[in-house]
Symmetry: C2
Subunit: 338 residues, 2 copies
């Protein structure tokens, strides 16, 4: 055994009240244990930072159990198999993605990991357009949103990991696509690089006026990543039989008061519209189909993806908080290998 | 012409702010005009009083245009053809139901009226279980709620015109049915007369505790007639893939402040659940099927219906307000013929 290998891990120390602070996680050093038969040692290169992680820190009943105090912070990850013992599903040198958590190494038998092909697309894209965000976008807009050609689709968090792919898929399917993003440079990116028909900078513009302008017939599908007032305003513009996809509510995740409920929800009644929540894990059996399709679209230049990569496991908290300040474009990733 | 016939009508005088008051409607007397060719004179016996009427009084874009100031108040009605001119769709003596408004007579060519059979069921049942409330219940719980045998169904406004039928249909379909109603006598009626498995008196009981008791596995379908805090609490108990049918929000219709939005709406996300609005008018083409089915269930004794009938067009406002005070059981009807 190479006893020089040290595992750095971000462990949940205290459940945050509101925004995670200095006492939320602790960076812990441990030695790497010896492998048992059937186990692999994976050196993790990249950690996926996602808004959903904030939800996993609350001690509430949800779609997966909360991260417990003292546990490594749960996160998607991507790394290389560097050591194996006995018969294992992957071999040394394989690149794999899975739920490795915020730590530099993980020992696993390979459950919930899958092999990726670094020659087919960039490594980081497997945490973005070809990872959970891409899967969420694909199943969210196609299977929950049920978009049809010619419809008007509104996407919040349009410059984000999920929203950026949602809007591009909707464009491929022939929709009129309007994004909502925070700031001038993001809005410019959404239109000029991602090819949305228009993008509203919610920090500067009057949302109601802009929606009147860009969605003159109203909204057929609203893909919501943010919740709060933006959801509430979007509801006013629903067309008959509109669909609202509830994918996230990033504006509310650090809330210490009551969640803001959509006071215009009766627009669902008047317009016979629906609002449906989605969890990407439900579509796991079909990820292969979606990855193949998105990968083709990337190769054809019809889908653009961007990862915003920061370095250093010690910077985990600071980088994670960029999700909530909006200070990033595209998929937020932490590089932790040297 | 019999010039002694006088039409009494309740005309919208001022749009109400909050609860309709003495200045909202005006009782106006007019002479009956002569019939033109193809027209019929209908003497109205019964007026249907429905929560949706409150919405039609607001000057906002909705699924039908608002009632205009100076117009007869819109309402469903039931009456007899007493005079015809030329070729008409119904003959003298026919009983018909339609949108006659709050007035004692109406002259019409018969658009939006249909003939009913007084030998088949009581006259008033055609405004209740065999009228709009029955249609709303039927399509709402079966087509929007998509109930399946063995599921747990929660119904608010359980003693009301719609809720009472919703729950009975759900029982026929083999569901565990829990009602919510206001007051001890209503709750007793819901269980003992309507056959719900249980009923929660929201005025007395702790809703959370009662829902834990009666819905131990959670709620598969919530049929919402009331909105507000009851909706919010119900959301907490949704099971995976649950459906919330938004049929009404009577707790909010007279609100002068902001509507209360369901702050627990993220339960839709966690549980991959949906919330869908419905308007019964969308199902007009299928009313015949529903009427036949409900009528059979009534004859088989599997559906019980109750109409709460008050008298006098001059009492319209007082009787109408019983919808919001809850001071009635079953379908609220105003009898206006002597």
């Amino acid at each position: 055994m190479d006893t020089n290998l040290i595992n750095y891990k971000q462990v949940l120390k205290n459940r945050p009240y509101g925004i995670p602070d200095d006492n939320t996680w602790e960076l812990v050093k441990t030695k790497i244990e010896d492998l048992k038969d059937g186990e692999m040692l994976i050196q993790q290169d990249y950690i996926s930072l996602d808004p959903a992680m904030r939800g996993w820190m609350n001690d509430v009943r949800s779609y997966i159990p909360p991260v417990q105090i003292g546990e490594v912070m749960r996160a998607g990850s991507l790394g290389r198999v560097i050591r194996v013992s006995g018969k294992t599903p992957f071999k040394v040198g394989d690149y794999v993605s899975g739920w490795g958590g915020v730590q530099s190494y993980i020992i696993t038998k390979g459950e919930n990991f899958y092999k990726i092909n670094p020659d087919r697309s960039s490594l980081t894209s497997y945490l973005g357009a070809l990872g959970m965000p891409g899967m969420t976008a694909y199943f969210g807009i196609l299977e929950v949103g049920e978009i049809k050609e010619g419809e008007t689709v509104l996407v919040s968090g349009a410059a984000g990991a999920v929203g950026s792919i949602v809007g591009q898929i909707a464009k491929i399917k022939g929709c009129n696509v309007v994004g909502i993003a925070g700031g001038k440079s993001k809005s410019k990116y959404v239109v000029e690089s991602l090819g949305f028909d228009s993008c509203i900078d919610y920090k500067e513009a009057n949302l109601v006026n802009e929606l009147k302008k860009y969605c003159p017939k109203g909204i057929d599908v609203y893909f919501d990543n943010v919740g709060g007032e933006i959801l509430d305003t979007a509801l006013v513009f629903l067309r008959k039989k509109a669909r609202v996809v509830i994918c996230g509510a990033i504006s509310q995740y650090n809330s210490t008061g009551n969640i803001i409920g959509p006071k215009n929800y009766l627009s669902l009644l008047v317009n016979r519209a629906s609002m449906r929540g989605m969890i990407v894990l439900d579509y796991a059996a079909e990820y292969g189909v979606a990855m193949k399709q998105i990968s083709e679209w990337i190769q054809e230049g019809r889908i653009v993806h961007k990862e915003d990569v920061y370095e250093g496991i010690e910077n985990f908290r600071d980088v994670f908080l960029r999700l909530f300040t909006g200070d990033k474009i595209g998929k937020l990733i932490l590089k932790i290998s040297k």
